[in-house]
Amino acid sequence: MSDRASPPMSDDALIQLLADAWAPPRLEPRPASVAEVRLAFARGADAGAGPLWRRLVSRPRAGRGWRARLALSAATVGVVVVGAGTAFAAGAPVPAPLRQFAYDVGLPVTPPALVEVQGDAQTVRADLAPGSGASPGTTAHDAGALARALRQLSPAERASVTWPEGVLARACRLFSVQPATASASASTVPDASEACPPAGASPGSGQWGGGSLPTHGTGVQPGGPSSTHGSPPGAGQSGSSGTGASNGGQPGSSGSGAGNRQPSPGSGSSPGSGPGGGRPPSGGGSGASTGGQGSGQSNRGGMPAGSAGGSGGAGTRQ
């Protein structure tokens, strides 16, 4: 070695010595390697799918992709949580998609369906406000939307908020206490029948979401399914006081309410016999007492006292 690595050694000799020192023992590729290279060539630009590429390149890249997807998901959730939290803290309305996502993942936000009901109820309330200028058609349309939104609520959600039902009841009363309007609601205002049950609707038919919607003695609301008991069909009508209108969930009682000019306490009690469709008593139908005591008690549960009382009065006013 010393003679080869001695100072007189030329560059060429030194290069040759290096080449020998680093010469690989095997100079021919293995048949398997040749086959892999041919396979990679056959796949062309998709050579990355080949076994070697996957072993040397794709696996680490797949790892990075997995981490990237995880990071992206975490970032998305973070943005949603922070965004919803910020909006909640600032009192700003949370965008509907964000609210839906937050609700779906279990964050403490108001259910989207409930927010929709509240929004629709605000609209109807605005329609009903004096001087709003809203036409009966518009009001009926908005009331129909509110009725549809109310039907989407779960029992628990419906129990948590009652004022939209009162608003809807006021809208329905608008059609029921004015004969002309009421008739219009049945014939010319398409959404009125959706918001307020038609005369022939049977109790618990579902038009009112299982009878849990307001029945404030307006004469247009049937009672809930359970409200029928103890109250034979026609009780309300015979009770003339009908005011109760709601009586026992008898449809068409609105007509009876309008026509009942003879207060009949006895009859009034009959509709009140119903348990109120399972809804807690709310003093609704207080007005109905003028036409038939107890009528108001019978039917409503959970309705705002104000709206119920007003409706009862409407039904009994002579």
Partner: protein, 180 residues
Amino acid sequence: MDSHESDLVAGARSGDEDAWEQLYRRAYPRLYAYLARRLGRVDAEDAVNETMARAVAGLGRYRPGPAGFDGWLFGIARHVSLDHQRRHNRRPRHAPTLVPDPPTGSDPGEGLELAADHLRVRRAYEALSRSDRELLDLRVVAGLSAEQTAAVLGRRPGAVRTAQSRALARLRTLLEQTDE
């Protein structure tokens, strides 16, 4: 690039698998030696095939130039080795982990002496700077010309020759020191 290699490259670009295999077989010994020196024998063969796979993917972008197909291919191989080292977060492997098979010959004593000489050269080589080793890897182990090495490293051929001369002088000095 000789005419035969040009024909093979043209055939491969037109989809001829046999032409591609011939290019692979021609380049394999030098690719293997180059990558084995930089990565070790364990990873060398896979790295060679990865180089070829990347070359297939980029064959449409290849434009014949002064460095020829070999210069282009070893440029890919260099990136493969750098990626591999980066992925494993390690420096290039050198002589201690790369002991070649004992030379075969009629005289067993001479074979052992050659093996010892090679080991001393590799140790001296390992003592060179990283840039010296990188240049000599291409010039000596891969057998590229100064022009091809210049193309791979992005330097001028004259600068490559000068750097090579200096690297060899340093290696010679190191060998002298080991002799003493």
